[in-house]
Subunit: 537 residues, 2 copies
Amino acid sequence: MKKSIAIFDTTLRDGTQGEGISLSAEDKFKIARRLDSLGVHYIEGGIPGSNSKDIEFFRRIKSYAWNARFVAFGSTRRKDSIADQDANLNRIIEAQVPAATLVGKAWDFHVHTALQTSLEENLAMIADSIAYLKQHQLEVMLDAEHFFDGFKHNSEYALQVLRTAANAGADWVVLCDTNGGTLPHEIQQIVSAALQSTQVKIGIHTHNDCELAVANSLAAVQAGALQVQGTMNGYGERCGNANLCSIIPNLQLKLDYSCIGDDQLQQLTSVARYVSEIANVHMPVNQPYVGNASFAHKGGIHVSAILKDSRTYEHIQPELVGNKQRVLVSELAGQSNVLSKAQQLGYELDAGKPAMKAIIERIKQLEHEGYQFEGADASLELMLRQAIGGEHEPFQFESFKILVEKSNNRSVVSEAIVKINIDNEPIYMAAEGNGPVNALDNALRKALSRHYPGIEDMHLTDYKVRVLDESDTTAAKVRVLIESTDFKHTWSTVGVSQNVIEASWEALVDSIRYALYGKEKQLQTNERKESLGIVNH
Amino acid sequence: MKKSIAIFDTTLRDGTQGEGISLSAEDKFKIARRLDSLGVHYIEGGIPGSNSKDIEFFRRIKSYAWNARFVAFGSTRRKDSIADQDANLNRIIEAQVPAATLVGKAWDFHVHTALQTSLEENLAMIADSIAYLKQHQLEVMLDAEHFFDGFKHNSEYALQVLRTAANAGADWVVLCDTNGGTLPHEIQQIVSAALQSTQVKIGIHTHNDCELAVANSLAAVQAGALQVQGTMNGYGERCGNANLCSIIPNLQLKLDYSCIGDDQLQQLTSVARYVSEIANVHMPVNQPYVGNASFAHKGGIHVSAILKDSRTYEHIQPELVGNKQRVLVSELAGQSNVLSKAQQLGYELDAGKPAMKAIIERIKQLEHEGYQFEGADASLELMLRQAIGGEHEPFQFESFKILVEKSNNRSVVSEAIVKINIDNEPIYMAAEGNGPVNALDNALRKALSRHYPGIEDMHLTDYKVRVLDESDTTAAKVRVLIESTDFKHTWSTVGVSQNVIEASWEALVDSIRYALYGKEKQLQTNERKESLGIVNH
């Protein structure tokens, strides 16, 4: 039988302490639904004593059924006061959740400096607060703040904090490396010492200031901790909390503990990306396990080896965590990457042929100019198709004009006029938009819609602008990446120019060419006549 | 006497295998200069056998004096061939560097599957290649690829690879966790086993696929490894290589090893950010030690404690690695963050006063609309100054018009016209630019330059566009962050709008207001008369 480790997610509480992260009650609710489906055991939802948003969140969750246990967070009672008159403790009870985390000081220096009270009063604050919540039938965890720093400075007092919590009825004591400065071998020693001094179950809560939060969590579990606290994508104060997206697969796939179901583990990548979207924080491509590049191969030797056996350069099957293998095309890649990409797209290319060399040269040239096909598969496919030949262009570009005007106290007006040709028929179209690119997008779609009614099914889902040479800023080159969808597929295109409008135009046109190509192919197979009727209208 | 650990930087070789990373010979040269000044012991510059860019790089470095030893990388000779006729090995010799790394297979599965040769031939390839480079007086390191996976599957063969390298004269054997799937406790055991089976010095080379590369490097050093290979910011294939920006301070500040000088350690943050700029990869704000948020405090309780003693929530002094403490202003923060920010800016605010409440309400409202002051200190300061009152506005806005035109085969033309008022004098000015924002920037500066000649000293250094609601893309709100400099100071401003031009305008105007404010203050103190002459011209 595998040993079970309880997963405690604090994305909605400690995660929101990260720079740039702000979640509405609605955001929190959406994330909680996905965390619940992922199978985490505890979801810490917020601090009901601190703000109305968190109170609203705890109110909202009551109308749904959940598998996870919700947890409300708060501090131990104020110094020199009475627990049952403490507003924050009462807010926790009013939140009507099954569990609570109380943060209490475990480092004598903090008791003196931050709390400015006596060591005895701090112990009384911990004992009273736990006892009060236990009277209300809550599962109670003590977050022993700065436990590891406390242990190093005054181990007897740190352990006394744990024993006090246990005696007051705490269900868990959670050892916190609040400042993130402790090393794995210290974690292992100190967790072992804590386990010897108390009977209560122990959890671990680490921060990533030394880039060791994942290792520290594993070290604690290997020493005997039964609960791991962390956040999705490692969000949190300063360098973040321990990243559950790495800890869960490490525990489950590498150390043979049981955390969540195997089918739930396959949701990990999509949940991680969903949380990143909702939190509006860019996920680094190289994030372990769940990043877009976690199983992406760029080195030519690596690519040729994984084509023989993916175990040569993959430590696990990406599908176990819901991710997938990718082959990147770049100047380092050589032919094997381009060949493999072309094969994925359904083209048989001959490595020895001049066409192949020409494609690689063209990719190199464009990458040199600032294009990046690693994140723009659709633009790459269009280029491969063009190089192979026989591509029908859905329209010819003639010109565009954009006018943006703003007067004092009036909102901006953006207009675009485009002129294109479809089968030698000139089309001239104008549109407004919320910005210059939106106006251009609207005008181009309007111009195309009579000949290609399918164009209405697609829309843009992401629009990224990247300055390539930041030393000469508003005059620098920019790269625009656009992601589009027709609700069945998603594709990405790229444009590069000194002018953000021109770069956007280029990526827009690629996105539409790609969409129309798909449409044509589909129509030619299914209803060729009707399709031709539409195209040549 | 502290034990020394050799730092081997492979940013310029393995780092460039990361998705989205591409470095020109010039980029590599710039980064090498900074790495040399940082004090790393080895700089792996590239693969002279793979491309002309790396040959060019090795040619260029010859005309400078360096403290670090440069290293050229290549594979062991091809199977069934002769080392001194191997083109790649000869390119390494032609690179005329003092040291070389040879990658050789240490996992029997890879010998069979990827190399498709016999175990004996692989050993011969390793021995011949090392012996050949040693004949040419190179310091030679064997990168024992997949050593840890190899050891787990066939420990005798993996160790035989090390002994073969040692017997052939290798100066170092470097144990590689190529797939990044090994855990710290395994690293410690296997490094210990390797040390017992060979006399040659051992190095460690890990990858971050389990988010454990830093912990694994430390575990290897604690077991006896004397060299750590890694990259700046952890760049590298898939999830990246071991991050030297975390490993160096962990070894030096936490484990008392000696790596680089204490004064060099203080360059760490600026070197890390410089490499991120040159590599054109966004540095996550929460990157340990060197990130912009590594010592940033957002939680209200944290902020009030660090104001008492920064050790309460900082594991080291940020200055030791050249970073600094920051206090973030956000809805979580409460008054203490705003008070502390205002104090930093030189304003004495009273926590109880209605003005203070109004400022916090205004910040909350703006953050709700999508503004983010965590990365826009100058906009925040302007707002605080405005709330306190008495701010002289350098100009009044009347209107702007932007025209962007493109015709087939001609490049885009961008023009802007701005109308402003300075002391009731209307100024009407037009300018061209490489893009609409650049045109607007140029026109605004031209309009201001007669009254504020100082405006020519400043320029923009960074321009970021972020889509706030990606579900409705080109019509979504965007946030523009602008970073500006006058070569002495750097400041950041923010603008938010559905229209990228309007958001840019807002951030531009804030940037200029901030610059002019500094100018006025300076002139009023030093040469008040002349300053007033300029302002009221």
